[in-house]
Symmetry: C2
Subunit: 138 residues, 2 copies
DNA sequence: GAAGAATATGTCTTGACAAGAATATACTCA
DNA sequence: TGAGTATATTCTTGTCAAGACATATTCTTC
């Protein structure tokens, strides 16, 4: 899993995987399309191979690389476990409220901010660090 | 997409995301559970935030981090496009055969290896580089 | 307003890794 | 067997990022 992610996190390797999605390919083909030099492609393929993401067939001097499904499937299974995060709206109602409730209990009865003031502070601030770092959709 | 993968590819950040899967958490909580030092956790959170993977709520001195669904959903959509690779068995029948056929055509009628010999060469060799680099399941 | 708590930021060092260049290996065909 | 083709490996170098440590920032409470 970690190994899969690390392999995919490199842009050129990601492109290689994208190329292999269509069909298996010999190294030279990818060298073309990626505009990388052959040794570099071979090295990236080595990493992908070590991660179990690709599979080689030998055809004379050529090596034909193909995707192996297992790691990608594993990744998909992992991500499925996060599904509820964008389906149900757990997070807000359960987690944070419990958090806050615990806090209320801990600090005894003392002078404290009005509910309104506290609300302001607690509000989600997507736009805190400016520079459009994540899109507002969803 | 690339940014998401790069963020997740670091083991500690991956763990942070796993922690946040259950519920939003303040930084100190994660510092505990991860056994990292506070500045390190803050920096990782910064990366996750820049990648749009997490979201902050300010509660007094505390920052409560929560997962944002968008990037994960995007990742899931991406991986869905690979689904056919472990469902249909395209790869073999389509891609490689076309590849070989093209090759046959290119080289004219010359003395060449018997079909049997060629078959041997072309066989998939999972076990080429020893050391169990990928599991044979699937 | 001073002390303490929770978190963020800056700087430095070190290790990992990608790219480049040169070379090795393996196969084909004449 | 020798030339050519396709791919892998080795070595070096530069870049970037993670960890450690010190310090800044912001809020709370007394």
């Amino acid at each position: 899993m970690m190994e899969t992610l690390q392999a995919l996190a490199e842009p050129n390797r990601f492109q290689i995987v994208e190329l292999l999605r269509d069909r298996p390919r010999p190294v030279g083909d990818m060298v073309h399309r990626l505009g990388l030099r052959q040794p570099q492609v071979s090295k990236h393929l080595r990493v992908l191979s070590d991660a179990g993401l690709v599979d080689v067939r030998v055809d004379a001097q050529r090596r034909i690389y193909a995707l192996r499904p297992a790691p990608l499937k594993e990744l998909e299974v992992w991500i499925e476990r996060y599904r509820r995060i964008w389906e149900g709206n757990f997070q807000r109602l359960d987690g944070v409220l419990a958090e806050l409730k615990a806090k209320e209990k801990k600090r005894g009865r003392t002078k404290r901010k009005s509910t309104a003031e506290k609300q302001r502070n607690i509000e989600s601030n997507h736009a805190e660090r400016p520079g459009g770092r994540h899109d507002p959709r969803l």
